[in-house]
């Protein structure tokens, strides 16, 4: 059956988002989305020996944009950057017990923002 509303887990991450904020002088920074489309995500990472030690996000967008951002930071924190690069949009959605079908593409950009931050880190290294 099509998932129309948000799961409890999505609402939990919307109400109490984890790792909100910015990191000054991050080792990696990623930004995806566009205010015209209604979603903008920024991810900041602090990396030591290729391990993501700290991660923060800021998001403009709907409930699922905020929840997926929060979830991706939880999934990535403490991981090796190469492991974290493997996190997909689907993984994020699965960890949130699913997203409404029309939200799967438009507001599930958090994995892309993480990827952009890690690529930025690798470039700088």
């Amino acid at each position: 059956m099509a998932n129309v509303g948000y799961s409890k887990k999505v609402m939990d991450h919307f109400v109490n988002p984890r790792n909100v904020g910015e990191i000054k002088q991050p080792d990696g920074y990623g930004k995806v989305g566009n205010p015209v489309c209604g979603d903008v995500m920024e991810i900041f990472i602090k990396v030591k020996d290729d391990i993501i030690e700290d991660i923060k996000f800021k998001t403009f967008g709907c409930g699922s944009a905020i929840a997926t951002s929060s979830m991706v930071t939880e999934l990535a924190k403490g991981k090796h950057v190469d492991e974290a690069l493997k996190i997909t949009r689907q993984d994020v959605a699965d960890e949130l017990d699913g997203l409404p079908s029309q939200k799967m593409h438009c507001s599930n950009l958090a994995a892309d923002a993480l990827k952009a931050a890690i690529e930025d880190y690798k470039k700088k290294k």
């Binding site: 948000y6 609402m11 919307f14 109400v15 988002p17 909100v20 930004k31 205010p35 015209v36 489309c37 209604g38 979603d39 903008v40 995500m41 920024e42 800021k58 998001t59 403009f60 967008g61 709907c62 409930g63 944009a65 905020i66 029309q102 939200k103 438009c106 507001s107």
Partner: protein, 392 residues
């Protein structure tokens, strides 16, 4: 905050059934079983319930020709009958149709469908307050134009249209005027005679009546063909056995709304004005729609740098239900065409919030609402990477 009293501010989406209407109409669900087309006594009782409702609805829009009211299953259906039924019946007058650019989707989509069938459609622009541009109407009229559709007042931004002026203008060119009054009826006085309206759509639920009924007023002499075919009920314009409960309920709801309109609209207007004043004290908040000439129960806003669906979800945490024209809360993922038509950019239209008041709301709710809005806007801005122009 989680257990506070629930404050419902989304009356434009759906309204509760008036308990007095329920008391009046429930017998038609159980005791009075009759098809108004049957000649036995049960059928006659059902027929008389429908005719009684027709009279009450006619009174709400001030027509003494109650037979000009056709019951439908919803406002959507009334709009479809008005647009499609008129356009197809009057093809000899031309195949050009006009509508304001802020019409409800139940007007726009029948127009789009007619476009596929060879009609040409023009959408008349509105000004920044959402009021139709009369000079644009005049420029867009061609010799093939047969109909203009304009809503009495807009459900998303509350702006009221100058219907009398519009009707005078289009009648100079021999064009029919359809008015979708679903959002306005029962809130402000509607007079189809004084405003010289040809077709006018109404909704039962927007009057605190049951869902499942709507009505279309058709001025005597205006030619409309049916969109549903069958047993020829409702003067052949809306076949199908009448939904007696919903129709009788709609009639009673119309009667009560009309009786209480002045007092209730005045009461809601006061709440609306305080809400608008308080909410506009928030940084980067703006009223959408007309600042004064708007529906008495309607307050709509936009906030920079945050998104409407998040506003809706966050307000729900305070047990307060609002609506938004944000793309993210729509099935199409497009921002509201109404907000774009009043000149907002996409990124501005995303941060909209619509409050529609009703009988359950009181002035006592205002501090709770404004606190929740203020906290919501603050929290979402703290989460947002976007900064207001000129610094946060």
């Amino acid at each position: 905050m989680m257990n506070s009293k629930h404050i419902y501010l989304d009356h434009a989406s759906v309204m509760p059934l008036d308990p007095r209407v329920w008391k009046f109409a429930q017998k038609f669900l159980s005791d009075i079983v009759g098809n108004p087309s049957s000649l036995h006594s049960n059928g006659l009782a059902a027929r008389s319930a429908v005719e009684d409702a027709r009279l009450k609805v006619a009174q709400l829009i001030n027509t003494d020709k109650e037979n000009s009211v056709i019951f439908t299953g919803s406002c959507t259906e009334a709009n479809n009958l008005a647009i499609r039924g008129t356009a197809l019946r009057n093809v000899s007058k031309g195949k050009h149709l006009l509508a304001s650019s802020i019409e409800h989707i139940s007007v726009i989509n029948p127009l789009k469908d007619l476009q596929k069938q060879g009609f040409s459609i023009g959408y008349v622009p509105v000004d920044k307050h959402g009021v139709i541009k009369l000079d644009a109407v005049e420029k867009m009229i061609s010799k093939d134009t047969q109909l203009l559709s304009v809503m009495y007042a807009n459900n998303e931004i509350g702006s009221i249209q100058p219907i009398k002026k519009i009707s005078s203008l289009v009648h100079d060119y021999g064009i029919y005027l359809h008015v979708d009054a679903c959002a306005a009826a029962g809130r402000i006085p509607i007079d189809v005679q004084k405003d010289d309206i040809d077709l006018l759509s109404l909704s039962s639920n927007d009057l605190y009546g049951p869902q499942g009924a709507g009505a279309l007023y058709i001025k005597p002499g205006v030619k409309v063909q049916p969109v549903l075919f069958g047993g020829g009920q409702e003067r052949g314009l809306r076949s199908g056995t009448e939904n007696i409960f919903a129709i009788a309920g709609m009639g009673e709801a119309a009667r009560i709304m009309q009786k209480e309109m002045k007092q209730e609209s005045h009461r809601l207007e006061k709440i609306r004005d305080v809400l608008i004043k308080e909410i506009l004290t928030l940084k980067d908040s703006y009223l959408t729609g007309h600042p004064t000439n708007r529906l008495p129960h309607h307050a709509s806003f936009r906030f920079s740098n945050i998104e409407g669906e998040s506003i809706l979800l966050n307000m729900d945490m305070y047990n307060i239900q609002i609506a938004t024209g944000s793309a993210c809360s729509s099935k199409t993922l497009e921002p509201s065409h109404v907000l774009l038509a009043i000149g907002l950019k996409h990124e501005e239209a995303h941060g909209s919030m619509v409050i529609t008041l009703g009988r359950s709301n009181s002035l006592e709710d205002v501090p709770k609402i404004t606190k929740a809005v203020s906290d919501t806007v603050q929290r979402l801005r703290d989460l947002s990477p976007l900064k207001s122009i000129g610094g946060a």
